[in-house]
Every structure is written in structure tokens, then in C-alpha cells.
């Protein structure tokens, strides 16, 4: 049933032009990060690692979260329109399948987004004249960031489900991401779901700041389970206001 639900979700996203947003916005940190790198060559001496600091600085801290939030808001937008909540809740499908299908779609999006950012990072590195390919460690940080993105996706799904507004959860994601960026700087990022993207991506750092991968893993799993349970619980016990 979960597979069928996922296929249905995929159909709902048809003609949404979401891909244009996800393809377009990561171009900005790639172009501007590369430009900033070239402007500060006298200070940035660590090659690919230096480019990473410029590329990831604002992307991870400010914009990755809102991008995921746009996706999550869109996934729920269909249900908030035209009494679709009534249709959704009377389908012969469990609440777990409904929520998990949307969650898995969002998770796929976070990983795809990171892969695209990785491609752009390599391209911008080549354009600014860096030799060879980026170290595997950076690509690992990139994918680790998507684990943090998964937590954000789960939280945003819960919020977009509860709030009928399309825009409000996106604003919450922006504010949460900025707060996460600041909290990461203070070393308490593990306790704030929006900071896990920054922590995972090792944003604006050229050496790995995650001294405890176990702590990061526990935080990711803990938040992911928590938000999923809250989301499914809300679907099960809250009356529909179509």
C-alpha cells in the first residue's frame, strides 16, 4: 500500500514545476560562492576545502531548509484545497502509509537536492580552476547534510499538515535555519532540528567539526522518529477541517 501511496503522491506533483525551483536556487550559491572564492584567493588557500566554505556558508545555514519547506508545503497543499482532506481520510489507507509516503517523497527530494549541489560544487570548482576532483570527505559531508535535511523534511511535513497556509511553514523554516546556523556556532546545534543540516554539511568549515558521529546519528534518528510519530498521531486523532 505504501508503494501505491508513493505513486499517488508522485502523480500529485506532476506539472508543479517544483524541479525548476530546486534546479535554479542552488545555482546561486554555486555561482556566488565561486565568485567570492576568486575574490578572496589571498586568504583562501586550501583549494576545494576553501571553496566548500564559500559554497556551503549560506546555502546550508539559510536556504536548504526553506527549499525543503517549499517541497513539503506543496505536498500538503493539494490536501488543503477543495475538501480533499475528506477524500484523503476516507481512503482505504492507513495514516502511517499516508504520512510515510509523503515523508519518503520528501526524503528523496533532500537527497536529490544534495546530489545536485554536489554536481554544481564540482562544476564551480572546475570553473575557478581547482585541480582534480574534490576530496571524498566533502562529498561525504554533502550526503551527511541530507540526513539533517531529512529531519527538517519530517518537521516541515508535520507543520505543513497542521497549517493550511502554504507560505507560513516556509518562513518558519527560514527562521529556524538562521537560528540553527547561530546555534551551531555556539556548539549546541545537535539539540535543534534545523541545525542538523549545517552540522552534517560541515558548513563554512574546512575541517570536520562533528567530533561525535554517534551523537549526530542519535539526534537525526531521534528527531526523525519523534516528528513521524507526531505527524501520524495528528492524522489519527485530530478531526479533519476540510
Amino acid at each position: 500500500m505504501l508503494t501505491i501511496c508513493m505513486k499517488t503522491e508522485q502523480k500529485k506533483l506532476k506539472h508543479s514545476h517544483l524541479w525548476m525551483v530546486f534546479a535554479g536556487i542552488p545555482l546561486l550559491p554555486a555561482v556566488l560562492g565561486g565568485g567570492n572564492y576568486l575574490n578572496n584567493l589571498e586568504m583562501l588557500k586550501s583549494g576545494w576545502y576553501s571553496l566548500w566554505t564559500q559554497h556551503s556558508l549560506f546555502y546550508a545555514g539559510f536556504f536548504y531548509g526553506p527549499l525543503i519547506a517549499i517541497y513539503c508545503s506543496y505536498i500538503w497543499r493539494v490536501e488543503h484545497l477543495n475538501y480533499n482532506w475528506n477524500s484523503l481520510m476516507t481512503m482505504p489507507t492507513s495514516e502511517w502509509d499516508i504520512f510515510l509516503a509523503k515523508l519518503l517523497m520528501a526524503l528523496r527530494c533532500t537527497v536529490a537536492l544534495q546530489l545536485w549541489v554536489g554536481v554544481l560544487f564540482i562544476l564551480s570548482g572546475k570553473i575557478v580552476g581547482l585541480p582534480g576532483l574534490p576530496p571524498g570527505e566533502i562529498l561525504f559531508w554533502l550526503l551527511r547534510g541530507s540526513l539533517g535535511g531529512m529531519v527538517t523534511a519530517a518537521l516541515q511535513l508535520v507543520m505543513s499538515m497542521m497549517v493550511r497556509s502554504f507560505a507560513a511553514p516556509v518562513a518558519v523554516a527560514l527562521l529556524g535555519s538562521v537560528a540553527g546556523f547561530l546555534l551551531s556556532g555556539k556548539g549546541v546545534g545537535m539539540f535543534w532540528p534545523y541545525a542538523l543540516m549545517t552540522e552534517g554539511m560541515n558548513a563554512n568549515k574546512s575541517t570536520d567539526v562533528l567530533s561525535s558521529p554517534v551523537g549526530f546519528g542519535v539526534a537525526v534518528c531521534g528527531f526523525l522518529v519523534l516528528f513521524t510519530v507526531v505527524g501520524v498521531g495528528y492524522l489519527k486523532y485530530k478531526d479533519v477541517h476540510a
Binding site: V170, L175, V178
Partner: protein, 253 residues
Amino acid sequence: MLGEWKTEWMKVRHRKIALIPAAFLLFTFLWLSWAAGSVHMESAEDGWLWLLMCLGLVNTILVPTMAAMLASRLCDVELKGNTLKLLCTMERKGRLFDMKLLTGASYLSVYVAAELVMMVAFGRMHHFAGEITLRLLVCFLLQSGLVSLGVLLLQMMLSLFSANQILPLAVGLAGSFLGLFSWFMQSPFWRPVVWAYYNLLGYIGQDWDVESRIVSYYEVPMDRQALIIFLIALPVGYVLGRRLFIRRTPGCG
């Protein structure tokens, strides 16, 4: 006109739209409080200049997304209910556009005024020396108020023309990004980018001493050319947007 103005406010009743600027304002206050604890200034007189500079930067990041949200919330009443066509049989299209913009601008004006009050309160709380001069206040209003109005106008047009609010929000987000980068990369290419005017209309400079890690702030003249361009572009954008809305109102054929 008064009736149409009242109608707009009745449409936003119980929609809790004021919560959007309130949340952004609270967040700005918290951000500044956090930043105040970690900054090393050369002298106490620098406090106000630091605060104004920080506020300009914070507005560059937050206001474009806030304006996108505000515009989206104000316009989705008609878009969700698909009532634009019906509405345009009773209300002049141009007037509807004006009223929507005016409602958004009202929220924005209250937001900028609240920022001013917050700034003064913040300065008093942290015992900044001296007072804010009239020049600084005018510059702040030009930088934060005028540029935010331009951003709101753009977002309003995008929201009115998009049944799907992804595009306006994505543009708002991209605008935050571009505006933020304009602070770090000085270039004449930023002139056509509306969000970069938070930086182009900057009026405070800074020197950072690498050794002592102390920052000193000083007043610089505002870029008059950028100001003139913006003052011309804003009414031109309004007239073009209004005309476009009258000619091609979504749902009105």
C-alpha cells in the same frame, strides 16, 4: 475607495497575518541580542552604527521572504477561492491592485516603525552612548522602508499572477540569497537587482582589525545614483505592474 479599503481588511480578518511580521520582528530582536554579545566594538559610540548596520543585513535576509509571505497571504484569498473573475465584475481592477498593495504596505510600514522602536529600546538596554542622528534615521527609512516596499511590489505582482504560490516564494528566497551576497561582492552588476539595494543604499562603513579583532564603524554617504535609480524604478514598477494586472488579470480572461 473607502469601501474597497474596508473590504480588503475584512478579507484578512481572522487570518492572523499580523503574526508574520510579529514573528520576524521577534526573531530579529533575538538575533541582534545574540550578535551584541559576540561583537567587539572600538568605542561605545559605535553601538548605534553597529546596530543600524546589523539591522540592514538582517533585513536583507529576512524581509524578502517576509514580503513574499505577506503578498502570498494577501493574494491567496481570491486565488484559492478563484473569485478574481467575480470580483472584477464589481470592483475596478486597478483599484483592487492598489488596495492589495496598500494593505501590504500598511503591514510593512508598521513593521519598519516597530523596528525603529525596537532599535531605540535595544540601544537603551545596551547603554549605547549618544543618540541616533536624524540623518541616520532618514537613511534607515530609505534603506529598510523604501527597498522593502519595492520588494513587496514585486512579490505582490508575482503572487497575483501565480495560482501556484511556489514561484513567488522561490523568488523571495532567491532574492534573500542575492541580497545577502551583494553585501560580500561589490559589483555594478547588482544595480538591476532589487534585493541588492539593501546594500547599495548602505550608509555605514566598517573597518575590521585582524590583529585585535576589533571592528570600527563610521558613516559613509549614501550612493545617490543608486537612490535615484530606485526612486525612479519604484513608481515605474508600480505603473507597469498595475497596467499588467488590468490587462491580464488571472481568471478574468
